[in-house]
């Protein structure tokens, strides 16, 4: 027992040693990794300080109908603030949502987050309005937003200045989708105050993109009333993407300029000196009123080949080849330079035309040799009226010596001023192609290219259908509607009827006596009815004729014979001997005697008392009818 305990103890120790040695064998994080060092050297973000909220009205006193900004600031990350979606409600105050954002401020060796939420507030009547304090969760804990007071009076103190706002400007408010324009965000500041810069300027809204690589910032004089005043101007390129009304709003944090004190720039000629504010930044979130622009879709009609989305006014320099003489099968480079009104306009090179018999053309590349992109542009160009928007080059391979010039490459742009597409086809450039044999690979590429081009064709949204097209009364399939199976039964019923009719017809053809009996029955009923009518009218001779006719018709199928050809003896022959000699025979003879006398004789027969025989006649005809039915 003791040895077992020793053995188990030794085993546990061994396992612990092994585990410790394996843990020690793991490589320690390298302290020499520069990226890691850079990350570690970054100041930490302060999220441990207690979250607090400050609130202000800017300005605290306004005239009725004037606008003030209700601004709430937190020393916390924006993501951590569970800000209510609905604005505060104060009777008499109208709240409109403004900008909201986050910025970091260095302090105490850490980056302190600053988050702000703006509302634009307007009051219609004088009075004192109080936004009561309320609670917001920050980092999951409730933080109290203090109450704020706004005084609305028709005679505010002269020292009160209006709320600081940004202004957004675009050259036009009727644009085409895809048309890039220079958008300016201007901050002029209160009159007489030094110019301050903005940080984290954003254009917010739906349906447009902003080119962050085309940002320019400057301080320049902008009109203010009848005079001009220095202002901070942030300029970038904005491209509307979706057609329809688009709302653009600007926001940014007032950051001042990072100088130890104000800088005064004295302009020559006695102009007003520009004072640039200094000191530590305050990071106040400012925003603008929304700017509404109307965006139209590009017209489909009149689109020219080679249109790649270029909108503006463009021109191309004469294309150049890197050599004027080339051997068949060797590549040659065609360089194209596109100029536009604005260097920041983006231009996508047109796709190469489908390979022909003489040329193999590869997609355009930019100067660095990578596929040309809209950003391949240069600012300015000496000796040209327009700045260069893009410069790209095509690699072409002549396949035969018959090629005398490069093929024209279709290219076009849309001119928003004229509202039309403009042809900008890259013209052919002459060159000499010397003898040589195109490689098999080049020829194979030429053969394969059309198929590849077809399969790689990018789908795009089509235009509208010009007519409603193929229509129906419901999207439910007809076979699932109640009337369709019923409709399908109609031809079935028709065919079934035809088939039954055919079977009956064939049966009657095999049994003609059935037809004769049926015909006799109809004739019997007709004559019988006539006899009854004659009896009611007291017309003895017609009664006799009808009765004899009925007897003839009823007996005709039994011979068979035409009813008119039968005589009384033929009728009597159908009755048994005893009846022929008895009353039945007498009645039949009587009727035939009167009838024959009327038909063949000149004098009328003895018709007296014939009407009294009607019951016997009826009984007789009923018996004959029964025989016909059998």
């Amino acid at each position: 027992m003791k040895s077992k305990i020793w053995f188990l103890g030794a085993l546990v120790c061994l396992l612990l040693l092994l585990a410790a040695s394996r843990a020690g064998a793991q490589p320690a994080p390298s302290s020499q990794d520069p990226l890691m060092n850079l990350m570690l050297s970054q100041p930490k973000i302060d999220i441990s300080s207690p979250a607090t909220a400050t609130v202000e009205f800017e300005p605290p006193v306004v005239r009725p109908g004037d606008e003030a900004v209700y601004r709430v600031n937190f020393n916390a990350l924006e993501e951590s603030v569970a800000w209510p979606e609905e604005p505060p409600t104060v009777p008499g105050l109208e709240f409109q949502p403004g900008g909201h954002g986050e910025i970091f401020q260095m302090g105490g060796g850490v980056m302190q987050p600053r988050t702000s939420f703006n509302y634009h507030v307007r009051a219609g009547a004088p009075g004192e309005f109080v936004v009561p304090e309320f609670s917001v969760k920050v980092y999951g804990k409730p933080v109290t937003v203090p109450a704020a007071r706004l005084q609305v009076t028709s005679t505010p103190p002269a020292s009160v200045v209006p709320a600081r706002r940004l202004r957004v400007e675009v050259p036009g408010t009727n644009l085409y989708a895809g048309q890039p324009v220079r958008a300016r965000v201007i901050y002029a500041g209160p009159p007489g105050s030094p110019v301050q810069g903005l940080a984290q300027v954003q254009l917010t809204g739906q349906g447009f993109i902003v080119d962050q690589s085309a940002v320019q910032q400057r301080i320049s004089n902008v009109p203010r009333g009848r005079t001009s005043a220095p202002a901070y101007v942030y300029e970038t390129t904005l491209t509307p993407l979706t057609a329809g009304p688009v709302s653009i709003m600007a926001q940014g944090f007032l950051a001042g300029l990072h100088t130890s004190g104000p800088v005064v720039i004295t302009a020559p000629g006695g102009s007003q000196p520009i004072t640039i504010g200094g000191g530590p930044p305050q990071y106040t979130l400012l925003d603008s009123d929304p700017l509404e622009i109307s965006v139209r879709p590009l017209p489909r009609r009149g689109e020219l080949p080679g249109f790649t989305g270029a909108i503006g006014t463009f021109a191309i320099d004469p294309p150049s080849l890197d050599t004027d003489s080339v051997q068949a099968g060797d590549p040659v480079k065609l360089t194209v330079t596109v100029r536009g009104d604005d260097a920041s306009q983006r231009v996508v090179p047109p796709p190469p035309p489908a390979p022909g018999r003489d040329w193999q053309i590869f997609a355009a590349m930019d100067a660095s040799g990578s596929p040309a992109s809209p950003t391949s542009r240069r600012f300015g160009a000496p000796g040209s009226s327009k700045p260069v928007c893009a410069s790209f080059s095509y690699t072409l391979i002549p396949l035969t010596t018959e090629a005398r010039a490069t093929p024209a490459i279709p290219f076009s742009y849309f001119d928003p001023g004229r509202g039309a597409y403009v042809d900008l086809t890259i013209p052919p450039v002459t060159l000499t192609v010397k003898g040589g044999v195109a490689s098999a690979d080049a020829r194979a590429l030429t053969q394969r290219e059309p198929a590849d081009a077809e399969t790689e064709k990018e789908p795009t949204l089509s235009g509208l259908a010009s007519a409603p097209g193929l229509a129906t009364d419901s999207l439910v399939p007809v076979q699932q509607r109640a009337w369709f199976p019923l409709l399908q039964l109609a031809p079935g019923a028709a065919f079934l009827g035809l088939w039954g009719w055919d079977r009956r017809r064939r049966y009657l053809e095999r049994h003609p006596e059935v037809v004769l009996k049926r015909r006799a029955l109809r004739g019997l009923r007709r004559e019988w009815r006539g006899a009854r009518q004659a009896a009611r009218a007291g017309d003895t001779s017609r009664f006799a004729a009808r009765a004899a006719g009925a007897l003839r018709v009823a007996c005709s199928p039994h011979y068979p014979a035409e009813p008119r050809a039968l005589v009384g003896a033929d009728v009597l022959a159908l009755f048994p001997e005893n009846e022929r000699a008895g009353r039945v025979g007498e009645v039949i003879r009587r009727f035939f005697a009167v009838s024959d006398a009327a038909r063949f004789g000149s004098a009328a027969g003895q018709a007296d008392g014939l009407l009294a025989l009607k019951p016997e006649l009826d009984s007789l005809l009923a018996r004959l009818e029964e025989r016909l039915r059998a």
């Binding site: 089509s462 097209g469 007809v478």
Partner: protein, 246 residues
Amino acid sequence: MSNSFRISIGLSLLMLFAKPCLGASIESLFHEGVSAYGAADYERAADAFGRAAAIQPASGTLQNLGNAEWQQGQTGPAIVAWEQALWLDPFNQSARNNLRFARKVAQLESPDLAWYEVVSTWLPANWWAWIAGLSLWLAVAMTLLPSIFRRRKTAWQQAVAAMALMVFLLSLPAHAGVYTRSHIGFIVEKDTPLRLTPTADSQNLTRLAAGTPARWERLRGRFLLIQTPEGLRGWVEKSCLSAMGD
């Protein structure tokens, strides 16, 4: 004149004049939608095309409705409209192209179709029923009528009967395909929750993107049991799925 006679006369007149009036209304709605689309007022365009399609579904109207919905960022309704346009007219290349475009942009899958469903997409959905009915009765007529009318069956009559029977038999799978395709629907709401059970408080299995295709299997209350192409089965609210034959 009795009341019933007057009512029947009134109904007949209504039937006589309602059709041209309806046609004029659809035409005006269609043109209203086209002009609103041209003015980039996509909401009004979608409303006009939607009303025209509600009165009389037509391939071109549904294609335009899809375009207007797409321009408003309504991926699900746009895909439904284009699919319905193809349901009515599979030869509508613009609607087919728009579906390819939308699915590429929104990274959505096409419905996973069985072979007989693929066959059913070759012709407008309603044509198959008419083809099956006509070919069946043509075969029956060519077989029965000569003997009924005491004519000798000629070779061409027998050939037509055989051909019609063949067409009927070949149309049967497509017929079945139309039926099963009418149970394919598309999610119209963004981030539609796929629920484990048909209850509002149910656990969510996942969220489906607008335009995701699904086959609905069963209706229970206001929930539909659906299966996605990835094999996920669950319940969605009926209003979140628009079926092809809706």
